[in-house]
Symmetry: C2
Subunit: 196 residues, 2 copies
């Protein structure tokens, strides 16, 4: 079964890929709005875990709508949720039998509801899978520490692969760095450096 899994290069989506890999013909897919080269960093991490990778271009208007929502809200959740759903919709039109992501049980955003999953499956005649959604933070942290080498550092200094990086860059261009820091106050992020 061909699976296209949304992939940021972060520890959750990397672990989701490791869990799924033995059971699917897996491709890690990084969406890009062409704003930054974040997807190139994601590809490097896919190479580290030896799983095929592709980049999926999304329309820039999706990013523009997402950042305007974030700026209006003052927090990123709804904008991130919107981008993630659009990414799954786009992925579902590619030639995969199944699409999925690295959402965990405890995630606040993005989170895929059962009705959204069912609707995506029905409209695209596809399966939606979330290999990590049966795992809470404790189990995920422990599996990550057992299987991956992780570097944690301030966001600015890490070359992250996900669309959040592009959305931050776009907010910076349109509204300035202060607005970025108001919307994303947590500066610490983590990237995958290797397999254990």
């Amino acid at each position: 079964m061909d699976l296209g899994l949304c992939f940021s290069g972060g520890k959750d989506s990397t672990l989701a890929g490791l869990l799924a890999d033995p059971f699917f013909d897996l491709t890690l897919v990084t969406v890009s709005f062409g704003v930054t080269d974040a997807h190139i960093h994601a590809r490097r991490i896919a190479d580290i875990v030896s799983i095929p990778h592709q980049t999926l271009e999304l329309d820039r208007s999706i990013a523009e709508e997402a950042i305007e929502r974030m700026v209006a809200d003052g927090y990123p959740r709804e904008g991130i949720q919107y981008v993630h759903e659009q990414a799954l919709e786009a992925l579902a039109t590619e030639s995969f039998d199944a699409v999925g992501d690295g959402t965990r049980r405890d995630d606040r955003a993005p989170t895929i509801s059962r009705p959204f999953a069912q609707s995506l499956e029905d409209r695209h005649d596809i399966e939606y899978v979330a290999p990590l959604v049966g795992y809470g933070r404790g189990a995920v942290d422990r599996l990550v520490s057992e299987h991956l080498e992780i570097e944690t550092a301030p966001s600015e200094s890490l070359a992250k692969g996900d669309y959040e990086h592009e959305l931050r860059a776009l907010i910076d261009r349109r509204h300035g760095q202060d607005t970025v820091e108001n919307i994303f106050p947590d500066h610490t992020q983590s990237v995958v450096r290797g397999l254990r």
Copy 2:
């Protein structure tokens, strides 16, 4: 990470075991009330998939309470849910780092809510994992057909390993076969015969 996974010998819990096996020190655990030898059939299926197996005895009073609830309701859902939660509670007191089960995204019963999972984890300082809960029926059916050989037949003629078999036997003893058939009208079940 030691994982004790509730195991009926059915296709869902077997697939959950296969998904978890590469990432955990896995034991498949079949609960038994000592009513029938269902757990011996479960052990046979664990042997087929080459995963360690143990039987966990639960107090017969749990089965008695479950069947009285089923008989009063006229359907099995709440009774099954009760037994499943009691099984996880008992499993959580064993010496595992994590406990889990083979619940799917679309399951009606048993189903483990996020608050129940969090409570189980907090009270027992343990992780709860559900390797299959990120997969819907379509994905599960396809993974099962790719990885397992399954036999489907009327329930009566199949030697199933799960506690449902024991609960049916107990209802038969207390209330007769007609009551069993009223509560469990669906006679078709499936058992695992091998790995593909």
